[in-house]
C-alpha cells in the first residue's frame, strides 16, 4: 500500500571537514530553504548487559523529551514514553506499547547506560512556491561532550520526506547524489559506543569457543575453562551491586560448567589438580544456592498469584515479604563470600593454572590426545548412559531416577556446547535441540518437585499470627496442590518426550557424530 519511499528517511554520510554550510547555500539557489533554530540534545543509550536490544536490532535512548525506541540504523521512532527518569527495569515503564514490546525482550534484566552523546541538529526546510515545507533536511552532528573542543564522532545529512510530496523528495535526493554524497545505513550509536570503548554484542551467556579437532586435549580444555572464568569475572561486580538477578545466574552456570568440564573431560589434567578445583568450585556454587532459589521465587511472584483465584491473591503476600527478607540476608552472604580471601585465592590460583603452559605430566595420560577423540568418546558414553537410564524410567518412574537423569542430561548438554565448533553446525544444533526438549521436561519436573518441597518447608517457618495467617497458609496449600497436579502431568509427558529422544533416527545421528571410529586394520 505504501509507495517505495514516501515514509523513508535517507541518510547521507558527510565526509570529515565537509562544508555543509556551502552545500546548503548552493542548494538554496535551486530550492528555497528556510533553516530552523539549531537544537542540541543529550542522548543516553541503554541496553542490557547481554545486549538484548542490540541483538534484536533495536536502539533505546533517553533525552529530555522522554524515552525512545527505534530500529538500529533507522531514525524512525517506533515507540516513545514520556518519562523523565530513565527506567532500570521493564516494570518502571508506563503501561503501553513500548512496555509490551520491551518486556518480551528484556524480561528480568536491568537496563544499563552504555554511553551518552550530544546531538546537534540543524533542520533546513525546503519550500515550494506557497512557502510550504515539502522536504526536511536535518544535519546531525554527534559529539561525546558539550565542550567546544569535543571531537565530532559522526555527521549525517538526513533527508526526511514530507508525506504527499514524494516528487520533491526524489528531486532533492537526486541533487545530493550528484554531489557524490554516499547514502549510509550506519547507526550513529556504533560510533558512539566505539568512542566509549564498548563493543556491541561482546557478552552473551551462551558459549562460543572455537576449537580445532587436533588441538591437544589439555589446551582445548583450558581454552574452555578460560572462557568460563571470563564469564565469572565479568558478572561478579554486578552481583555485588545487586543490579539484576541474571548476573548471579550466569555466574553460577559458569561455575557449574567449570565443574562439568573438570569432571567430564577426563585424564587431561593431573588428578589431584582436578579434584582440588572441582571441590573448590563445588563449594563456590553452593554459597549462592539460597540466593538463586529466592531470586527464582521472587521473580515468579506474579505467576504464583495467577494460580490463585482473584480474591485469594493478596493473601499470599506475607510469603513473598518473608522471602524478600530472607533474600536480603542471602545476598549479603554471597557478597561476603565474593569478598572473602578464599574466593580471591581460588580465582588467583585458577587463573595461574589456566595460564600456565601445557606441560607433560605423567599423571595426565590424556593431555596430548587430540581433543576431537576425547570429545567424541565422552559424548558417546554419556549419551548411551542417558538412553539406558531413560528406558529404565519407562519401567519404573521413580522420582529419584528422574532427578539423576536430569543431571546426566545437563552434563551432556554442556559437553555438546563445549565442543560445538568441532562438529558440523547444523547436525550438532539439531541434536542439542532434541536434547533440550528432554531437558525442558525433566527441568519442569524438577522445578515443581523442588518448589513443592520448599513451600512445605517455608510454610512451617513463616512467622504467622492472627486470622490472616490461616489464609496465607491456605493460599500456599492451594499453590502446592496445583504444582502436584502439574508435576504428575509432566511425568506422564516424559514417556513421549523420551521416546522421541531415543528414537532410532536420533540415536543414529548421535552415533554418526560421536561414535569413535574403529581404527582400520585394528582387529
Amino acid at each position: 500500500m505504501k509507495d517505495s519511499m514516501i515514509y523513508e528517511n535517507l541518510k547521507f554520510r558527510l565526509p570529515d571537514h565537509y562544508d555543509q554550510q556551502q552545500m546548503i547555500t548552493n542548494l538554496d539557489e535551486q530550492f528555497p530553504i528556510k533553516p530552523e533554530p539549531p537544537q542540541a540534545v543529550r542522548l543516553a543509550f541503554y541496553d542490557t548487559f547481554d545486549w538484548r536490544l542490540y541483538n534484536n536490532a533495536l536502539v533505546l535512548y533517553h533525552s529530555e523529551h522522554g524515552l525512545f525506541l527505534r530500529p538500529l540504523s533507522d531514525v524512525t521512532v517506533l515507540q516513545q514514553a514520556r518519562i523523565t527518569t530513565p527506567p532500570v527495569f521493564v516494570r518502571d515503564l508506563p503501561d503501553g506499547a513500548m512496555k509490551d514490546k520491551l518486556s518480551a525482550i528484556i524480561e528480568m534484566r536491568a537496563l544499563l547506560k552504555l554511553a551518552h552523546v550530544y546531538c546537534y541538529t540543524t533542520t533546513y526546510r525546503v519550500l515550494n512556491q506557497d512557502e510550504k515545507t515539502v522536504v526536511r533536511l536535518a544535519c546531525e552532528e554527534y559529539r561525546p561532550s558539550d565542550e567546544q573542543s569535543a571531537p565530532v564522532l559522526a555527521v549525517y545529512l538526513v533527508l526526511k520526506p514530507v508525506r504527499g510530496y514524494d516528487k520533491n523528495a526524489h528531486q532533492i535526493a537526486d541533487h545530493l547524489k550528484e554531489l557524490e554524497l554516499a547514502i549510509t545505513s550506519e547507526d550513529p550509536m556504533q560510533a558512539i559506543l566505539k568512542n566509549s570503548g564498548k563493543t556491541p554484542g561482546d557478552y552473551s551467556g551462551k558459549l562460543n569457543i572455537a576449537l580445532s579437532p587436533d588441538m591437544r586435549a589439555d589446551e582445548a580444555t583450558k581454552k574452555i575453562l578460560c572462557f568460563l572464568l571470563d564469564i565469572m569475572k565479568r558478572n561478579e561486580p554486578f552481583i555485588k551491586g545487586d543490579v539484576d538477578t541474571e548476573f548471579l545466574h550466569d555466574f553460577r552456570v559458569a561455575v557449574r560448567r567449570t565443574r562439568t568440564a573438570l569432571s567430564q573431560i577426563k585424564g587431561v589434567f593431573p588428578a589431584e589438580i582436578s579434584t582440588h578445583f572441582k571441590e573448590a568450585f563445588r563449594t563456590l556454587g553452593k554459597l549462592s544456592n539460597d540466593l538463586r532459589d529466592l531470586d527464582v521465587y521472587l521473580l515468579n511472584e506474579e505467576s504464583y498469584k495467577a494460580l490463585l483465584p482473584a480474591d485469594m491473591r493478596d493473601t499470599i503476600d506475607p510469603l513473598f515479604e518473608y522471602l524478600q527478607e530472607k533474600r536480603d540476608a542471602a545476598l549479603q552472604h554471597v557478597i561476603n563470600s565474593l569478598e572473602s580471601r578464599d574466593y580471591t585465592r581460588l580465582i588467583r590460583d585458577w587463573t595461574a593454572f589456566l595460564q600456565a603452559p601445557a606441560g607433560d605430566s605423567p599423571a595426565a595420560s590424556g593431555a596430548r590426545r587430540p581433543i576431537i577423540n576425547v570429545a567424541q568418546r565422552r559424548i558417546d558414553r554419556v549419551y548411551r548412559r542417558i538412553v539406558t537410564a531413560g528406558y529404565r524410567i519407562l519401567e519404573n518412574s521413580d522420582d529419584e531416577l528422574l532427578h539423576a537423569l536430569r543431571i546426566e542430561c545437563k552434563k551432556l548438554r554442556y559437553l555438546l556446547e563445549f565442543f560445538t565448533s568441532l562438529f558440523p553446525e547444523k547436525k550438532i544444533n539439531a541434536l542439542i535441540k532434541q536434547l533440550k526438549q528432554l531437558q525442558d521436561n525433566l527441568g519442569d519436573f524438577n522445578d515443581f518437585d523442588v518448589q513443592i518441597e520448599y513451600l512445605r518447608k517455608i510454610a512451617e517457618e513463616l512467622p504467622l499470627t492472627g486470622p490472616r495467617s490461616r489464609k496465607t497458609l491456605l493460599a500456599i496449600g492451594r499453590v502446592i496442590e496445583k504444582f502436584e497436579n502439574e508435576k504428575q502431568a509432566v511425568k506422564v509427558a516424559f514417556v513421549d518426550v523420551f521416546t522421541g529422544f531415543a528414537a532410532p533416527a536420533n540415536q543414529a545421528a548421535f552415533k554418526q557424530l560421536f561414535k569413535p571410529k574403529k581404527k582400520e586394520g585394528a582387529r
Partner: protein, 249 residues
C-alpha cells in the same frame, strides 16, 4: 486513538481556527495527529499552505482504501498530517446518501487511519445533514464552539435536541466559548447562564483576538507564529482542559 470533531451548526464561530490550533498543540505534545478538512471552503487546508483538490474526480473520502492514504499531506510540523479539503466534499452528503449504511460511511473510511494516528481531528462544515450524522457516529467527542450570544445558545439547544431525538449520545458533546468579548456585558452574562443550563461546558474560553485573525496572513497556527501571545495561551489552556476533562473522562 481518539477522534475529535470540531462541529457547529452555525458558521463563523471559530471552528476551523480551533481545529487547526488544537491539532498543532496535540502534535507538538508528541501525538501522531491527522487533521481532516471536511469543509469545502478548505480554510484549514489553506492555513497549512496545502492546495485543495479542485479536480472533479473524488478520491479520498468517497472510496475507502488506497486513495485516502495518497491524499494525505505532511504539514510544516512534525507529527501533524492533513487530509486536504476536496472541492467535491460539498457533495459528500448527497454521495453518502446513495450508498449503503449511509450514516457510517465516514467511520469506514477513517478506520485504517485510526490505527496510524493517535488523534484525528475533524474540521466539519457548518451543517446538520447526513455528513454531520456521519461525524456524530465516528467522533469520540464533539467540541462545539459557542459564541455567547442568544442565537448561539438557541442553536446549541437545537443540537442537543437533535441528538436526543435521533438517539445519539449527548455525552459526546462538549461546548467551549469562542470569540468571547469580555467588554460586552451580554457575553459575560450569557457565559454564566450557559454553564448553568448545559452540562459539559469547558471553562477555558477563546477570546476574540486579532492574532487569531492573523492566522490567515501567516498561514500558520497561532502557537507557531506567536507562541507567547494571549491567543496562543488561550488555546493551550483549552487543550489542557480537553486532555484533563474530555480525553481522560
Amino acid at each position: 486513538m481518539t477522534t475529535l470533531a470540531l462541529y457547529s451548526i452555525k458558521g463563523g464561530v471559530g471552528k476551523t481556527a480551533a481545529a487547526v490550533n488544537l491539532a498543532y498543540l496535540t502534535a507538538q505534545a508528541g501525538a501522531k495527529t491527522l487533521i481532516c478538512d471536511l469543509d469545502p471552503q478548505s480554510s484549514a487546508t489553506y492555513y497549512f499552505r496545502v492546495k485543495p483538490k479542485l479536480k472533479a474526480k473524488a478520491r479520498g473520502l468517497i472510496k475507502p482504501g488506497q486513495a485516502i492514504d495518497r491524499s494525505i499531506k505532511g504539514t510544516d510540523y512534525e507529527n501533524l498530517d492533513l487530509l486536504p479539503a476536496e472541492f467535491n466534499h460539498r457533495n459528500l452528503a448527497a454521495i453518502f446518501d446513495r450508498l449503503k449504511r449511509s450514516k457510517q460511511r465516514l467511520q469506514k473510511i477513517l478506520k485504517p487511519l485510526q490505527a496510524e494516528y493517535d488523534v484525528i481531528i475533524l474540521d466539519c462544515p457548518p451543517n446538520i445533514n447526513l455528513l454531520a450524522e456521519n461525524v456524530f457516529n465516528v467522533a469520540d467527542h464533539i467540541l462545539v464552539p459557542l459564541i455567547p450570544t442568544t442565537l448561539s445558545v438557541r442553536t446549541h439547544r437545537q443540537l442537543l435536541n437533535f441528538f436526543k431525538k435521533q438517539n445519539y449520545d449527548t455525552r459526546k458533546i462538549y461546548a467551549f466559548f469562542s470569540m468571547v468579548d469580555r467588554r460586552k456585558k451580554l457575553h459575560v452574562e450569557l457565559s454564566s447562564l450557559v454553564t448553568q443550563e448545559f452540562k459539559r461546558v469547558l471553562q477555558s474560553p477563546i477570546p476574540y483576538l486579532s492574532q487569531i485573525e492573523q492566522m490567515g496572513l501567516h498561514r500558520e497556527p497561532v502557537p507557531a507564529f506567536s507562541p507567547n501571545s494571549a491567543a496562543s495561551k488561550s488555546y493551550q489552556a483549552l487543550w489542557a482542559e480537553i486532555q484533563a476533562c474530555v480525553l481522560s473522562a
